[in-house]
Symmetry: C2
Subunit: 314 residues, 2 copies
C-alpha cells in the first residue's frame, strides 16, 4: 500500500518508515522538520518521497494525499512539558493539525488513518494496568488534551464520513534516534556534569516504556491484521519502570563512577505530569503481537543506544 | 458570585441567566448573537451586562473576564447536523473557542468553569443507561468531537493550572425559547404543511430529554454543592423518548387532525446521529437534584410551549 507518514522524519516516524519499506510498501513523508531530521531518512536514498510542509497549511496537506491508501499520522509537538509555558502549541500542532489531515483525507477520498495517541489520554487513571475502555478520560496535560481531541475528531470522521481508523495509545516510546524524553535528558545532564544527575520529582514516577522498533512493528502488525471501523490499542509492554530506576540504569550504562543522583522532590516532574501510568497491553497481545523488550529492557537498550548516538563525554 | 455566561443569549444560556439572577448572583453575558437572541434577555433590563463578542477574538474574551468568579461556558454551534456539510464549525466554535475561554481565564486568574458538554461524547455506547465513567469515548459526530475536545482542554487546565471545573453532559435539552432540535423542526414542518410530518430515519431513535429549566437548575445546584477539582455529571432524566413518540406528541398537541406521519427510513436521522442515547443520572440524583419532568413530560411540555411561541398556523 502507499503510505503517507506525517512526522515521518521524527523519532517514531522514521522507524516506522524503515519497517514499512522493509515490508514492501510505498512511503511518502510529510514533515516540517521542526523536530524531525533528514539524517534519519538519508539511508533510504530515492526510495521515499519527502514533502517538507506544515500540517497547518491545509492546501499542502491536500496535495500530499494524492494516491495515498493510508495515512500514519504521527506528527505532533513532541515536548509534553511545553504546554505548561506555551498553551496553544498542542492545540495547533495536535488537534488542529489532525483536523487538517482528516479534512484533506475527506476531500481526496483517502479512507484509512493510523494515529499515534498516548497513554496520557487516561489522565490519572484509578485502574492499572489501564485498558482501552477505561473511563472517564480526564487528561491533565495540554498534550494529553490534544491527543484526546484528535482521537475524538478521528472517531467523528469514522461516524460521519466512513473513515477507518487505528488509534494507538502509546506508552513512553524510547530508543534509537530519541530526541527528547527522560533518558535523553539524563544523558545530556551527565554530559554537562558527570558528577551529578538531577531528577525532576521524587523519582517514584513510574510508567510503561516501549522500545521504538517494537512500537513501529506493532502498528504495522495491527493495521494489517485488524479491520473494525475503529481499532483502538494500547501499545506498551506489560510492566513499568520508575524514574529512579531509569536514573540508575543510565548511570550504570554511562560507566561514570560516583555520580550523585539528586531528586528535586514532589510526586511529579512538572505540572501536568502523570505520576504513574501502566498500560494494559492485553488487546495488542491477543491480536498476535508481543514486544521484544519489557519496560526496563527498553530503557536499558535505549540508554546504551543513545549513549552511542549522543556520546557521554563532551 | 459574579458569573460570565458565554452563549448567555442562547436557548439554555438565557434560562441559566434567569435562574442565576433569581438566586442573587451577578451576571455578564458574552454572546455573538449568531443564534442567541436579545429578546431572551430584555426582561432583565439593566440587571445584566451584555458583551457582544466572538469567542474567537481572544482579546475580547480576556477583557470579559474582569471581576469574574465563575464562567458558565455554554456557547457553541447549536446545530449538530451542520458538521456533515461544514467540517470546521464545531472545531472553531467548540474546541478553539473553549481554548480561548480557558486561556483568558488563566491570564485573568479566573479559577472556576462550568461547561455544557453533551451525551454525544459517549458515541454509540454499549452500556445504557450510560454512567459518567463509561469508556471508550468515541463520539461519532463532529459536534461530539468538539465537546470531548473541550472537556479534555478543561481537565488539562485543571491538571496544569489549578482550575476547578464542572463538566455537565447534557441529555437533549428541550423547552421554551428552543431554536433548534427535533420538536422545533416538527412544529415548523407542520406549519409548512399541516397534512403531513416527515420524520428523518425510522423514528426508532430514542434519547434522554431534559426540560431546559431543570437543566439550568441542575447546573446551579451542582456548582453550589460539589467541590472536587473535576466534577462531571450527566444531566438528564432517567428514561428516554423515541422520535416516533415525539412525532405523535407534537401532532397531538398541535390539535391538527389526520396528519400523516412519514418516515424516511434508516436507523439514524443523519450521518453522525446516535440512534439511542440513555444517560444514567444517578450521580446527579445522589447529589440532591431531581428533574421535575421525565423525558416524555419534557417533550410534551416543550411541544405545548413552542407551539405557543412559534404558532402552529401560518
Amino acid at each position: 500500500m502507499q503510505c503517507l507518514v506525517t512526522g515521518g522524519a521524527g523519532f517514531v516516524g522514521s522507524h516506522l518508515v524503515d519497517l514499512l519499506l522493509d515490508a514492501g510498501h510505498g512511503v511518502s513523508i510529510y514533515d516540517n522538520f521542526s523536530s524531525g531530521r533528514r539524517e534519519f531518512l538519508t539511508h533510504h536514498g530515492e526510495k521515499i518521497s519527502i514533502i517538507e510542509g506544515d500540517l497547518l497549511d491545509i492546501n499542502s496537506v491536500i496535495n500530499a494525499m494524492e494516491g495515498i491508501d493510508i495515512v500514519f499520522h504521527l506528527a505532533a509537538n513532541p515536548d509534553i512539558r511545553l504546554g505548561t509555558s506555551v498553551t496553544d502549541t498542542d492545540l495547533k500542532q495536535g488537534t488542529v493539525a489532525t483536523y487538517n489531515v482528516l479534512e484533506a483525507m475527506r476531500i481526496k477520498g483517502v479512507k484509512k488513518i493510523a494515529f499515534s495517541s498516548s497513554s496520557v489520554v487516561y489522565g490519572e487513571a484509578d485502574v492499572m494496568p489501564t485498558p482501552e475502555d477505561y473511563g472517564p478520560l480526564f487528561p491533565i496535560s495540554l498534550y494529553g488534551a490534544s491527543k484526546l481531541g484528535s482521537e475524538a475528531l478521528i472517531t467523528s470522521w469514522v461516524g460521519t464520513f466512513e473513515l477507518q481508523a487505528w488509534i494507538f495509545r502509546f506508552a513512553n516510546i524510547v530508543g534509537a534516534r530519541g530526541t527528547h524524553g527522560v533518558i535523553f535528558d539524563f544523558i545530556h545532564k551527565l554530559r554537562a556534569d558527570p558528577t551529578r544527575l538531577e531528577v525532576l520529582g521524587n523519582g517514584l514516577q513510574e510508567k510503561s516504556y516501549m522500545e521504538v522498533r517494537d512500537c513501529a512493528a506493532a502498528m504495522i502488525h495491527l493495521v494489517s491484521s485488524t479491520n473494525d471501523p475503529i481499532n483502538c490499542y494500547n501499545l506498551g509492554s506489560d510492566d513499568t519502570c520508575s524514574v529512579r530506576r531509569i536514573a540508575e540504569i543510565v548511570v550504570e550504562e554511562s560507566g561514570l563512577k560516583e555520580v550523585s543522583i539528586e531528586y528535586t522532590g514532589g510526586d511529579r516532574g512538572w505540572a501536568g505530569d502523570v505520576p504513574k501510568a501502566m498500560l494494559d497491553p492485553t488487546r495488542m497481545n491477543d491480536a498476535g503481537f508481543s514486544t521484544r523488550y519489557n519496560s526496563e529492557g527498553a530503557v536499558r537498550h535505549t540508554a546504551q543506544t543513545l549513549m552511542e548516538e549522543i556520546g557521554i563525554e563532551n
